[in-house]
């Protein structure tokens, strides 16, 4: 019996991604939306590492590091925006921020 089929890793990643996506699309709290985005990025990492292991190539892991770098940058800027938003609009509910309407 082989250890664990890669397909299971990929499915785990897809499931985690879907959970993150549901979080992004349904929660009203912007901070939790950002947390959900972190979940989605981690789903990607699981995938990358699984294939890195399958193909015996370190490239996947290098890319996972880039994804983490990206996640850090995104979290910093995203949370900066949340603070600026809260200061100006007194709310962090995603559906109360609809400036793009006009």
């Amino acid at each position: 019996m082989p250890p664990v089929p890669t397909a299971h890793y990929v499915f785990l990643s897809a499931a985690l991604f879907t959970i993150g996506m549901i979080g992004v699309l349904t929660r009203r709290n912007v901070v939790i939306i950002l947390i959900s985005i972190e979940l989605m990025l981690n789903a990607v990492n699981i995938n990358l590492v699984a294939f890195s292991n399958l193909l015996q190539s370190v490239n996947g892991q290098a890319f996972a590091i880039f994804v983490i770098v990206d996640a850090a940058a995104e979290a910093a800027v995203g949370l900066g925006i949340v603070i600026a938003l809260f200061r100006n609009k007194e709310t962090i509910q995603a559906d109360e921020i609809d400036l793009m309407k006009w």
Binding site: A94, D98, K101
Partner: protein, 682 residues
């Protein structure tokens, strides 16, 4: 020195200038900026001249320099099932067509840079202006020198961005920043067409490199009227209507006059707006393979030409008249492409770059002299006060109406002649429209001349005090351009007048294959030279009657002019408000999407009733009381019906614009779901 190997440096000089300005320009004194930026463009011009000179001695007159493989080969499946590689290089192609473009862009661009150092000397953000201007030169040169459609698109987007930045240069003025956004959004619609066209091209030819596409299209594997090619050309043409300001996307160009005048001259008259024409000429072989597209192109071009010319008649802002004139002249170029006269299109592009840049710079000099006044009703009698501007403006005005021996005469007549003998569509109709447009052009340009330079002065006291000729740094570029406007057309001296049309021969390698296909499949009757002489004489007569009409109305007998305007006040109002196109677009695309129905309906109603009733009022007077009924029920009813239809059709678009990001993201999810389901159930 081998300049051909150095063509990749032509766009690089202005890029270096732009980087220097945008990073360190704030600290530089103005004199340094006005040396660096025009200097960079001048260096590009010198390299271009050297490269074109060396190109002319190559037997095949084509030189490709590939710097590196930019998008390396990812393989994909073409529509016919073959595999192909998406290979796009950062490569430059110098051939007769691009050589004309780079000479025009760097040459005219240099003159305008020099002029701008004088014009902008009292403005804030001097370095920013020149940084953007140099960035624009870089993008434009990339656009015309690219060896594949993808790199062309990089330049295409780049000039769009620079246009946006420069229109909104006075960003503290709301109208300017709005105009910038309008230009950007209108162009975006067109750009989507170009991208789709590029994808279709990849699927059809498996390549987006010019040489490959042209070789495949000319190989005979594609018959005339091939559906895929028609799709490609139509999609590319959508991009052309955006960039080259054709109906229906022309609306941004008149508003673009909010930018500084050198910008209007460089970007919105001489270079960027001709990018669309360049794209069509570059793909000429695809266009000749698709007669349907050619008919659309010719129709749109002719309609734009006459439509914009009629609006130009009733405008009072000196720059707006020129803007509509530009739209109209671009219509000529597109018409030329539509009737298969690509050479004539390029020829007119070139002469138009000279005389329209001169007109705009002259207008800028007038505005400069008038301390910022742009309304022609407050000018008049300026000829004595600003003699150099007047003299050069006169040359341009004679050139644009097609006075014999001036550059506009040769290029415009070439287009008229080719429209007349056109194998595409009904040539006589196209010719008629173009001829009327020529008359209208003469009328509105000379209306501008008479209102600005001649007659009694209507300048107000304050401005009259400051009235002065511009400094030499502005007038010298005007003089150079005046010489070019006069003599620039001589390289295309037609054979019937004893010349040899050098331009046509020079472009032969680019246009030859397309022309051959066109000739093979069109019954080409012989046309006597006498017909050509007659048409030339006719267009000169029409132009000069337009001129004399303008003279009669605006100098000799102003009362007659006013009374005519009174009598047709409905038409006058319609033209002055540019056929209400902006209002309709605003109601349908802007307001319709964001506002609640009732409000949009009532505003749209009010504007259209206003326009419709004004336009129809004079007509009703003629048809007396019987038309009261007509007015009340049919006209108003039609107006209300239109408004209702617009309101209903914009409803789906409106409910999508909720402004809530999560719903937008949700649409991505549904798209993904549909995409996967398609493969699931396939």
């Amino acid at each position: 020195m081998n300049f051909l190997e150095l063509i990749w440096m032509i766009p690089l000089f202005p890029a270096a200038g732009a980087v220097a300005m945008l990073l360190f320009g704030k600290k530089m004194p103005n004199w340094l900026v006005s040396i660096i930026c025009p200097g960079m463009v001048f260096t590009s011009f010198l390299v271009s001249v050297g490269a074109v000179y060396q190109l002319s001695s190559l037997p095949e007159r084509q030189f490709e320099k590939i710097l590196y493989s930019w998008v390396p080969g990812a393989s994909f499946q073409m529509a016919n099932g073959q595999l192909s590689n998406l290979g796009a290089d950062w490569g430059f192609l110098l051939d007769p067509l691009s050589s004309i473009m780079i000479l025009v862009v760097t040459g005219v661009g240099f003159l305008i840079h020099v002029y701008a150092t004088g014009y902008m000397s009292h403005e804030g953000g001097f370095y920013r202006f020149f940084g953007y201007l140099n960035l624009f030169m870089f993008s434009m040169l990339t656009l015309v020198l690219a060896n594949n459609y993808l790199l062309l698109f990089v330049g295409w987007e780049g000039v769009g961005v620079c246009s946006y930045l420069l229109i909104g240069f006075y960003f503290h003025k709301k109208s300017a920043s709005d105009a910038g956004k309008k230009a950007f959004i209108a162009n975006r619609v067109g750009d989507a067409g170009v991208v789709l066209g590029m994808f279709t091209m990849l699927a059809t030819f498996g390549s987006i490199r010019y040489t490959n596409v042209i070789a495949q299209a000319g190989s005979g594997n594609f018959h005339i009227g091939d559906a895929a090619i028609t799709a490609i050309t139509l999609l590319l043409f959508i991009g052309v209507t955006g960039k080259s300001a054709q109906v229906p996307l022309y609306v941004w160009l008149p508003d673009a006059m909010e930018g500084p005048t050198p910008v209007s001259a460089l970007i919105h008259a001489a270079t960027m707006v001709t990018a669309g024409v360049y794209l069509m000429v570059r793909s000429n072989i695809l266009y000749v393979l698709s007669p349907d597209t050619m008919a659309v192109v010719a129709g749109v071009g002719a309609f734009t030409a006459i439509f914009a010319a009629t609006i130009g008649i009733a405008q009072y802002d000196i720059k707006r008249v020129l803007a509509y004139s530009t739209v109209s002249q671009l219509g000529y170029m597109v018409l030329a492409c539509g009737v298969g006269a690509f050479g004539a299109g390029v020829f007119h592009l070139m002469t138009h770059a000279f005389f329209k840049a001169l007109l705009f710079l002259g207008a800028g000099s007038v505005i400069h002299a008038m301390s910022g006044e742009q309304d022609m009703r407050k000018m008049g009698g300026l000829a004595k006060k600003i003699p150099y501007t007047h003299a050069t403006f006169l040359v341009a005005a004679l050139a644009i109406i097609g006075t014999p021996l001036f550059s506009g005469f040769f290029s415009k007549d070439e287009i008229l002649w080719r429209a007349f003998i056109s194998p595409v569509g009904s040539g006589i109709l196209l010719y008629g429209v173009a001829l009327i447009t020529a008359g209208l052009t003469a009328f509105y340009i000379w209306r501008l001349m008479f209102m600005t330079f001649y007659g009694e002065s209507r300048v107000d006291h304050h401005a009259a005090h400051h009235l002065h000729e511009s400094p030499p740094v502005m007038t010298i570029p005007l003089m150079v351009l005046a010489v070019l406007s006069l003599a620039g057309g001589w390289i295309g001296w037609p054979t019937v007048l004893g010349g040899s049309n050098h331009l046509e021969h020079w472009l032969e390698p680019v246009l030859g294959p397309g022309a051959k296909i066109l000739e093979e499949h069109a019954a080409h009757g012989e046309h006597a030279h006498s017909t050509e002489y007659m048409l030339m004489a006719l267009s000169v007569i029409v132009a000069f009657s337009g001129l004399s009409l303008a003279y009669y109305f605006f100098i000799k007998n102003r009362a007659a002019g006013d009374s005519i305007a009174q009598k047709f006040s409905g038409v006058q109002k319609l033209l002055e408000n540019k056929y209400y196109v902006d209002e309709v677009y605003n109601a349908v695309f802007v307001r319709g999407m964001v506002m609640n129905g009732g409000e949009a309906l009532s505003k749209f109603d009010a504007r259209v009733i206003d326009g419709g009733v004004n336009g129809v009022a004079w007509f009703t007077r003629l048809t007396s009381t019987a038309s009261m009924w007509w007015d009340k029920w049919i006209v108003d009813g039609a107006v209300r019906l239109t408004a209702l239809v617009v309101n209903l059709t914009s409803y789906p678009a409106r409910i999508l614009q909720t402004g809530r990001v999560q719903l937008y993201a949700f649409s991505i999810l549904t798209g993904l779901l549909i995409f996967f389901s398609y493969y699931l159930f396939k």
